[in-house]
C-alpha cells in the first residue's frame, strides 16, 4: 500500500537468489498437467488437457473457448454447455510475465522485489531442468510491453535471465488487456505461463486473463499483495493518491470504512478466484512478506506446477 522506502535494487543473480534458496529449489522440476510431447523432449511426462484424441475431462463452457469442443451430447441431455478436454501433447515452455506497473513499488517488504525473486527462482528451476524459458515485463511502453526475453534454455542462461530481471523497474501504468493481447499473439508453442501481479487493474482483469488463457496456456496467476494492503495502517483524515495515475480519494479513516475496505478486498480476491476457477487458471494469492521458498516449495507444489 504505502510506497516502498528507497533501497538498493537487486543487481545480480546473487541478489535475487541466495545459496540457501538454491539448495532448497535445486531438486524441483516443472510439471504440467498435460502430456508433454514437444519439439524438444524434456525429462518428464506432463499432463495437460488440450487438443488431442485422448479425452481427459469435461468442463463448463466459458466465453472464448473453442466452440468446436462443445460436447453437444451433454448439451442435449443437460441443456448446459460443456467442452471436452483432451490430453494434449506439446513441448513445455515456461513463460514468466511480470507486472511492472508502479503500484508494485509499494509495500514493506516491497511487492516488486518479491516478484523479482519469485520469478528468478522459478526461472532457475526451469533453466536447470532444461525447459524453454521466456519472460515478459508488462509496462508503460509501446504495446504495454516493457521488455521481453525468450528462448532461454540451460543453466548457462541463468545470468542472462538474472540480468534481465534486475534491469526491470516498476514504472507508470499500462493497459493489461493490450499487454495480454501482445503476449498471446507473440507466443509460440504451448507451456506454463506464470503471471506475477497484484491484479489491481482499473480496466478489469477479465479481458487480459481471457486472452492469456485462451491460447491453451497452463496459466498460473501469483497475486502479490503487501501486508499494508491487507491491513492498512492508516488513521486520520487523508488524501489517498494512486501512485500509477495520480487519482485521488479523500477519506476519513474510521472503523466502518476500514471494515468496508477489507470486505472489498476479500470480495475482489473472491471474484478473481471465481474467474480463475472457471477457466482453470491457478490463482495463488500471497503477501509480499512470504518467504520465496514457501511459495515454491509449498504453494506451487500443491498446485502441481513444481514437483
Amino acid at each position: 500500500m504505502l510506497r516502498t522506502p528507497p533501497q538498493p535494487r537487486p543487481q545480480s543473480l546473487d541478489d535475487l537468489l541466495d545459496s540457501a534458496l538454491i539448495a532448497h529449489i535445486d531438486r524441483l522440476d516443472l510439471a504440467s498437467r498435460r502430456v508433454f510431447t514437444g519439439k524438444l523432449r524434456g525429462e518428464r511426462r506432463s499432463k495437460r488437457r488440450g487438443q488431442s484424441v485422448e479425452f481427459a475431462d469435461h468442463r463448463q463452457y466459458g466465453e472464448g473457448d473453442d466452440i468446436r469442443h462443445i460436447d453437444w451430447n451433454i448439451y442435449g441431455r443437460l441443456d448446459r454447455l460443456f467442452v471436452k478436454l483432451f490430453l494434449e501433447e506439446e513441448d513445455l515452455a515456461l513463460h514468466l510475465v511480470l507486472d511492472c506497473s508502479e503500484s508494485h513499488d509499494t509495500g514493506q517488504p516491497g511487492k516488486f522485489l518479491f516478484m523479482q525473486k519469485a520469478a528468478m527462482a522459478l526461472g532457475y528451476v526451469g533453466l536447470v531442468n532444461l525447459n524453454r524459458v521466456a519472460a515478459t515485463a508488462m509496462g508503460p511502453r509501446e504495446g504495454s510491453i516493457w521488455s521481453a526475453i525468450r528462448d532461454l534454455r540451460g543453466r548457462r542462461r541463468l545470468h542472462e535471465l538474472a540480468q534481465w530481471i534486475c534491469s526491470l523497474q516498476p514504472r507508470g501504468a499500462f493497459s493489461f488487456r493490450q499487454a495480454a493481447q501482445r503476449i498471446a499473439l507473440a507466443r509460440r508453442g504451448r507451456g506454463v505461463m506464470v503471471l506475477f501481479s497484484d491484479c489491481f487493474f482499473k480496466e478489469g482483469f477479465e479481458a487480459g486473463l481471457k486472452l492469456l488463457v485462451g491460447r491453451g496456456f497452463d496459466l498460473f496467476v501469483v497475486q502479490v499483495l503487501s501486508p499494508q494492503e491487507v491491513n492498512p495502517p492508516l488513521t486520520g483524515d487523508l488524501r489517498l493518491k494512486d501512485v500509477e495515475d495520480a487519482d485521488q480519494a479523500e477519506v476519513t479513516i474510521s472503523a466502518p470504512l476500514l471494515k468496508r475496505y477489507k470486505a472489498n478486498l476479500a470480495a475482489y480476491a473472491a471474484e478473481l478466484g471465481l474467474f480463475c476457477a472457471r477457466r482453470e487458471i491457478n490463482l495463488i494469492t500471497v503477501q509480499s512478506d512470504l518467504p520465496v521458498e514457501t511459495l515454491l516449495l509449498d504453494f506451487m507444489r500443491k498446485r502441481g506446477l513444481l514437483t
Binding site: M1, L2, R3, S103, H104, T106, G107, K111, D198, F200, K202, S226, E229, L234, T235, G236, D237, L238, R239, L240, K241, D242, V243, E244, D247, Q248, A249, E250, V251, T252, I253, S254, A255, P256, L257, L258, R260, Y261, A263, N264, L265, Y268
Partner: protein, 702 residues
C-alpha cells in the same frame, strides 16, 4: 423557570455557535498518502455512502454532540432555576430561637431531633433558596442576616449574600439553657432598616426616628412560640414576619420549677430542701426526685404528678394548665454543700422526657452556723436585750476600753460580728490612707455593725464626717437589700444623726437615706466590712418598733454569713441562665477564676471595689469563682445556675405569635425551594463530552 442572566447567555451563544459551525465547515487539512491503488478505497467509500442512509448525520455526529454540549453550557450560563413563590423581597432576617425550650426533642427523627436542629435545617434550606449573585449583576442577590435570641439577642451574621457565611453562622448557633425574649431580637432586626430621612424645604435633612424606609425585610422566625415577652415585640410597619413553628403543640414535659433550702431557726443543723415540680403531660406521671449532696445521692422521694388539665376558655397561649407537685427533703447536715435535685423515673433516667435541661437543678447550701457576736457599748439595754433573744453561739458585751485592749492584742477577729454602739475605734496610724489607693474604712479587721458613729470620718477614708444634723425621718431605703428586706421604716423618726459623705469611687453603698443625707451605708475594704447607721437608735423611736429587732437579726446574719456578700442584694448565689453572675470579692484580689459547669475556666478582672461580673451565662449547673487575695487565704464561692422557669418548661409549641402589632400564625411546612438547574446542565455537558470523546475514538481507531 427563571433565567437569571439570559442576556449573557444570548451574547455567548451568538459568538460561540457560529464559531463552532465555521470551524466545522472549514475544509479539513488532509494528509497525503500514496497507495498502490485507490480502486478498493473508492469502492469502500461508495459502499459506505450507499449503505448508510443517515451517512450525512453520522459523519456529523461529532458536530451534533458538540452543539448539544455547547447548548448545555450556554443554557447553564443563563443560570436557569425553578422558583418557589414565597420569595418576596430581597432582604431576609433569620431569627432563630435558641432558648431552653428549643432543646426539646420532639421533631421527626430517630432519635427525635431537637427543635433547634430542625430550625437550623429549615433556615439552611431558606438560605439555599436565596437568589445568588449572577455573573453580571452582583447586586441582584438576596441578602440575609442571622440573629439568634434567647434571654437576649445577638447578631450572628450581618446582612450578606454570601451563602457560605450564612450557613456557617446558622450552624454556629448553639443551644442555651435560658428563658426566651424576642423583643430585643425584633428590635435588632428593625434597626437594620435605614431610618427614614426627611428633607425640609430649606434642604436640611433630618432623620425621623422610629420610621424606616428602603427595601422591606422579611423576618423569618424559627421558634416554638414559648416566648415570655412576645407581646412586647413591635416589628416595623413594613416588615413581614413569617413564623416558622418548630415543635409540636401536644408535647408535654416534666420540670423542676422551684428549689430552695432553709435551715430551722432554732436548729441550724436541720436542713430542708424544697423542690417544686410541674408537669404538662397528658397522663399521670410517677417520678423519683433525687437529692444529691456534693455529688452523692442523699435522699430519694417518689412523687406522682397528676395529668395536666386542659381548661376550656383558658389563655390561648397556654391552653394546658400544668399540674403542680413538690417534695421536701429534711435532713441533718451542719456543713455547707452543693445540692443537686434531679428528676428520674423509678427505673433510671428520664429518657422519654423531651427536655432534659429542666430535670435537674443545683443549690448552694450554706453551712449551719451560730454566730459569735460582740457588743461594744457603754450600756445600751435595748441592744443587749434584743441580741440576747437571738440564737447566737456567744454574745460578749464589752466596753470600748475592753474592746480596744482586745484590738491591741490582735483579737479583734475573735467574733463573727462586732456591734459598735455610738463608738468607733480610734484610727490606726499604720493604716493611714494612701494617695491613689482604695480608701480604707478606718476599722480593724472584722465585720461591724456601727450604730451612731462614723468609722474613719476624716478625709481619705471611705466615710467623711460632716456637721451633725437635726431631726429627720427616713425617706427611702433599698427594700431588696438582705438587711432591709421586709422592713417598714416610714414611722422611724430620728432626733439627731451624724452627717456623712461617702468618698468618691470607694464603692460605698447607701442603703437608706434620710432628709439630710445617708442614713445607712455599707462599706468594705480588704480587711473589714461594715454596715453603718448614722444615728444612735436610742436617739430615735426605732427601738420601739418591731422592725428594729428584725433589722438587727438580718444585719447580724448578713454580716456573719461571710459568703453572702453580693453587693446588689439579690438572692445570693442563685442565677438563671441569661443573667450575669455578679459578686464582690475582697478588694485587692487581682484575678478571679470562673469555672463553668463544662469545666472551662475564665479569668475575670475584678473592679477596684471588688465587683466581679461574669456572663451572661448560657448553661445550667454550678459555677465556681475562685481567687486568692493579698489578705485572705485562697477562697472560692459557688453559684448555682438553674432554669426553674415554669413558662419555659411548658414546651407545647404555640400556634401563633401574638406580637404587639399583630398575631402571626404558624407556617410549619417549608416553602417550595428554588432549584437551580445550571449544575445539572453542566453535568449533562460533561457527560456528552465524554460520549463525544468515545465516538471520536471509535471513529479514528480500529
Amino acid at each position: 423557570m427563571t433565567w437569571l442572566t439570559p442576556t449573557l447567555a444570548t451574547i455567548a451563544a451568538a459568538i460561540a455557535v457560529p464559531t463552532l459551525l465555521l470551524l466545522y465547515f472549514l475544509k479539513l487539512r488532509r494528509r497525503d498518502v500514496e497507495v498502490s491503488t485507490t480502486l478498493l478505497w473508492k469502492r469502500a467509500i461508495q459502499d459506505l455512502q450507499a449503505n448508510a442512509p443517515f451517512q450525512r448525520i453520522r459523519r456529523n455526529i461529532l458536530l451534533i454532540l458538540q452543539l448539544i454540549v455547547l447548548g448545555a453550557a450556554l443554557a447553564a450560563l443563563g443560570q436557569p432555576q425553578t422558583r418557589g413563590d414565597t420569595q418576596v423581597g430581597s432582604r431576609h432576617i433569620i431569627l432563630i430561637d435558641r432558648s431552653a425550650s428549643m432543646q426539646t426533642r420532639d421533631e421527626e427523627g430517630t432519635p427525635p431531633v431537637s427543635r433547634l436542629d430542625a430550625a437550623r435545617k429549615q433556615a439552611l434550606a431558606l438560605v439555599e433558596s436565596l437568589r445568588e449573585p449572577t455573573i453580571l449583576q452582583k447586586d441582584r442577590a438576596d441578602q440575609a442576616m442571622v440573629i439568634s435570641f434567647d434571654a437576649s439577642a445577638r447578631v450572628v451574621q450581618n446582612f450578606t449574600s454570601d451563602k457560605g457565611l450564612l450557613r456557617a453562622a446558622i450552624n454556629a448557633i448553639e443551644p442555651a439553657d435560658t428563658p426566651t425574649s424576642i423583643a430585643l431580637a425584633i428590635q435588632l432586626a428593625k434597626a437594620q432598616s435605614p431610618t427614614r430621612m426627611h428633607v425640609d424645604r430649606d434642604g436640611s435633612v433630618t432623620r425621623v426616628e422610629g420610621l424606616t424606609e428602603g427595601p422591606t425585610s422579611v423576618i423569618h422566625v424559627w421558634t416554638d412560640g414559648r416566648i415570655a415577652d412576645v407581646a412586647e415585640a413591635n416589628p416595623g410597619p413594613g416588615e413581614q414576619i413569617v413564623f416558622n413553628r418548630v415543635g409540636k403543640p401536644e408535647t408535654g414535659n416534666v420540670a423542676l420549677v422551684g428549689l430552695r433550702s432553709e435551715r430551722a431557726f432554732d436548729l441550724p443543723a436541720r436542713l430542708s430542701v424544697y423542690a417544686g415540680i410541674e408537669s404538662t403531660e397528658p397522663a399521670d406521671r410517677a417520678l423519683d426526685v433525687e437529692l444529691l449532696l456534693d455529688g452523692q445521692v442523699a435522699m430519694i422521694r417518689p412523687v406522682t404528678l397528676p395529668a395536666a388539665r386542659t381548661a376550656i376558655g383558658a389563655d390561648p397561649a397556654r391552653p394546658v394548665t400544668p399540674s403542680v407537685g413538690g417534695v421536701v427533703f429534711t435532713l441533718e447536715r451542719e456543713q455547707g454543700a452543693l445540692a443537686q435535685v434531679r428528676l428520674r423515673t423509678a427505673g433510671g433516667d428520664l429518657a422519654d422526657d423531651p427536655l432534659d435541661v429542666d430535670n435537674r437543678a443545683w443549690l448552694v447550701v450554706p453551712p449551719a452556723k451560730r454566730l459569735a457576736v460582740a457588743l461594744v457599748t457603754r450600756d445600751n439595754l435595748f441592744l443587749k436585750t434584743a441580741l440576747e433573744g437571738m440564737p447566737l453561739a456567744r454574745l460578749t458585751v464589752l466596753t470600748p476600753a475592753q474592746y480596744q485592749a482586745a484590738i491591741a492584742l490582735g483579737k479583734s477577729a475573735d467574733h463573727d460580728v462586732v456591734i459598735l454602739d455610738a463608738w468607733a475605734p480610734p484610727l490606726d496610724p499604720a493604716r493611714a490612707p494612701i494617695q491613689g489607693a482604695l480608701p480604707p474604712t478606718g476599722l480593724p479587721p472584722g465585720r461591724f455593725l456601727v450604730l451612731g458613729a462614723v468609722p474613719g470620718g476624716a478625709d481619705g477614708y471611705q466615710l467623711v464626717e460632716r456637721e451633725p444634723t437635726g431631726a429627720q425621718s427616713l425617706l427611702d431605703w433599698r427594700r431588696d437589700h438582705p438587711v432591709l428586706r421586709g422592713l417598714l421604716l416610714d414611722a422611724v423618726a430620728i432626733a439627731q444623726a451624724r452627717a456623712v459623705a461617702p468618698a468618691e469611687g470607694a464603692g460605698v453603698a447607701v442603703i437608706a437615706s434620710a432628709d439630710h443625707g445617708p442614713a445607712m451605708l455599707e462599706v468594705a475594704d480588704e480587711r473589714s466590712r461594715a454596715l453603718v447607721v448614722t444615728f444612735v437608735p436610742t436617739d430615735s423611736n426605732w427601738p420601739l418598733n418591731w422592725s428594729f429587732i428584725v433589722f438587727l437579726a438580718q444585719a447580724v446574719t448578713y454580716l456573719g454569713d461571710d459568703q453572702a456578700i453580693t453587693g446588689a442584694g439579690q438572692t445570693p448565689r442563685l442565677v438563671q441562665p441569661g443573667e450575669i453572675i455578679r459578686d464582690r470579692v475582697p478588694p485587692g484580689v487581682p484575678e478571679v477564676e470562673v469555672t463553668t459547669p463544662a469545666g472551662l475556666t475564665h479569668k475575670v478582672q475584678p473592679a477596684a471595689d471588688g465587683q466581679v461580673v461574669f456572663g451572661p451565662i448560657t448553661t445550667v449547673g454550678p459555677y465556681r469563682l475562685a481567687w486568692s487575695g493579698p489578705a485572705e487565704t485562697p477562697a472560692a464561692r459557688l453559684f448555682a445556675a438553674n432554669l426553674l422557669d415554669s413558662a419555659e418548661s411548658d414546651v407545647a409549641a404555640s400556634a401563633e405569635l401574638a406580637l404587639a402589632t399583630a398575631a402571626v400564625g404558624a407556617t410549619t411546612a417549608q416553602a417550595t425551594l428554588d432549584r437551580k438547574l445550571w449544575p445539572w446542565l453542566i453535568l449533562a455537558a460533561l457527560g456528552l463530552l465524554m460520549i463525544e470523546w468515545f465516538v471520536y475514538n471509535r471513529k479514528v481507531h480500529v
